[in-house]
């Protein structure tokens, strides 16, 4: 438990700093109202009207995020495996090779289908 207390202290310190500077920014700066200032910045043109619920992202990013989850989970398995590797020995190696090869099949499929091509 005691190992986490220092993290909390540092976290409180940095959170306090961030909150105070945002508060301070509102106080120290001038306030001169101007309608154009509050518009979205689009290099000088009238801002593009935003669709309801915010803008929309290309669907392509969904694939990126999904692939990220897959590899993230792989990493989460790899870390304890690596730490405990010497005790697991050859059996551990074979297990992980099987796991990685299975995932590589998915990776190869996505690659071949062009899922890793960006514009």
């Amino acid at each position: 438990m005691n190992s986490y207390v220092p993290i909390l202290v540092l976290g409180a310190l940095s959170l306090g700093f961030a909150v105070v500077s945002i508060g301070a920014g509102a106080l120290t700066g001038p306030k001169r109202y101007n309608r154009a200032k509050l518009d979205a910045y689009e290099c000088g043109i009238e801002p593009t009207p935003q669709p309801v619920g915010g803008g929309r992202f290309p669907v392509k990013y969904y694939l990126t995020a999904m692939l990220f989850i897959i590899f993230d989970i792989e990493i989460v398995f790899l870390y304890p495996w690596a730490v405990h590797f010497d005790a697991l020995g050859i059996f551990g190696l074979v297990e992980m090779v099987l796991f990685i090869v299975t995932l590589l099949a998915a990776y190869a499929y996505v690659w071949r289908r062009g899922g890793l091509e960006w514009d």
Partner: protein, 440 residues
């Protein structure tokens, strides 16, 4: 310590500091990071200035050292604008989410060995966890939220695109980064930073695991959105990226977070691959080099070296295109990291299980790797030439309206032939219209 927990999952030597020491260390880390940020901004402008045959800021304080401080004060005196279309709560929350985790990663970075502070023996490290490196990744992944939310909450087009790109970029490179650590854990047998530094007493992992190190260095530059991977802020395309709509100290917080992240990834590279606070070779011959407060000097020197590389790259390389960047991350770094990881694990297993000589394995492994690289290189050349040829030859084929026995619309690049005959004009009036629409 809680006496009831015999096997408390703590790294030995940590968790026993009195409260005042914890506060001193936390404040010291905080001040160190803020000073490093101010210094790094100044150094970047000076060094890039030199590289571009300019002088750089030299007016405020000696050598312009106080320039970043002056800039900070200037930012504080700017108007704090919250755009009309913004989601106010999230807009204000985003810089806090970006800045706070940036500081937190440094809690597990070792600055030096055990020293005496006011008669109290303690490590020069705020704390350590058995999962310290994973903790750094976790904190970094929280920091990405700041960027996504900043982009989304601004209610403006450029920040939205910039934030999206930024986060996609960071998560892509986080994978390569995470994979590059595995080799280190394999050899150190631990994820705790202090134990990884201890494990490097007889050789740095940057030498032993050179490919891991290279992959990490590339990934860390991508992860911090720095040149040549600074696409989220590609001025020519996206204005300022996710922080376009931010001003005053909110903007300053994003700036701070970016530079602290630079310092953090550099510190992590130092810790995992360059022996942490251990003295570099010629100095390490001196017995006292790894004792007392000297290691802080070696640590900071290695850190500054990485920061210089960051600045150097910015002064040297042009920005990558988005597709090139993603290709590098997903098609080069990740397979390379996986392949290297399997190689390392195999060598390690053979070494421990069958007592193979490491040099023998290294020799044969090296030959095999060189052969593999040569083969892929030749294959790449052939593939590139084939691509070139097929691209030149690739003229749009003649449009066959009944390809495969079914009526089909033209593919992109194909044009529909002019219709002839009497029947065609009447029957094809409707489809004709849609076909030209598709052509565009």
């Amino acid at each position: 310590m809680n006496g009831t927990l015999l096997a408390s999952p703590e790294v030995s030597g940590f968790g026993g500091d009195p409260w005042w020491l914890v506060v001193i260390k936390a404040v010291a880390i905080f001040v160190f990071l803020v000073v490093m940020t101010l210094f790094a901004i100044w150094a970047e402008r000076r060094v890039v200035g030199r590289m571009q045959q300019r002088i750089g800021p030299n007016r405020v304080g000696p050598f312009g050292l106080l320039q970043s401080l002056a800039d900070g004060i200037k930012l504080a005196l700017k108007e704090d604008i919250v755009p009309k279309a913004a989601d106010k709560a999230v807009f204000i929350l985003a810089p806090i989410i970006a800045a706070t985790p940036a500081f937190l990663s440094f809690a597990v970075i070792p600055f030096g060995p055990e020293v005496s502070i006011f008669g109290h023996q303690t490590r020069l490290q705020l704390t350590d966890l058995p999962v310290a490196v994973l903790y750094v990744l976790a904190v970094a992944s929280v920091g990405i939220y700041g960027i996504v939310l900043a982009g989304w909450s601004s209610g403006s087009t450029y920040p939205l695109l910039g934030g999206l790109r930024s986060s996609a970029q960071m998560i892509s490179y986080e994978v390569a980064m995470g994979l590059s650590f595995v080799g280190v854990f394999l050899y150190a047998g631990s994820m705790s930073t202090s134990e990884i530094v201890n494990a490097q007493a007889h050789g740095w992992y940057a030498v032993l695991l050179a490919p891991s190190f290279v992959i990490y260095v590339i990934a860390m530059i991508g992860e911090t959105n720095r040149a040549p991977f600074d696409l989220p802020e590609a001025e020519g395309e996206l204005v300022g990226g996710f922080h376009t709509e931010y001003s005053s100290l909110k903007f300053a917080l994003f700036f701070l977070a970016e530079y602290i992240n630079m310092v953090t990834v550099s510190a992590l590279a130092t810790t995992l691959f360059l022996g942490g606070w251990r003295a570099p070779w010629p100095v390490s011959l001196w017995d006292g080099a790894n004792q007392g407060w000297w290691p802080v000097l070696w640590f900071v020197a290695k850190l500054l070296m990485f920061l210089f590389v960051f600045i150097w790259l910015r002064g040297t390389l042009p920005r990558l295109r988005y597709d090139q960047f993603m290709k590098l991350g997903w098609k080069v770094l990740i397979p390379a990291a996986l392949g290297w990881l399997l190689l390392v694990a195999t060598v390690r297993a053979l070494n421990t299980e069958y007592n193979f000589d490491t040099r023998e394995i290294a020799l044969y492994g090296g030959i095999a790797a060189a052969a593999l690289i040569a083969v892929t290189f030749v294959w790449d050349l052939i593939a590139a030439r084939r691509d070139e040829e097929s691209a030149v030859e690739h003229e749009p084929e003649e449009f066959d309206a009944m390809a495969g026995g079914h009526p089909v619309p033209p593919m992109p690049g194909q044009s529909k032939p002019a219709l002839t005959g009497v029947g065609a004009t009447t029957t094809a009036a409707g489809p004709d219209h849609t076909a030209t629409e598709d052509d565009r």
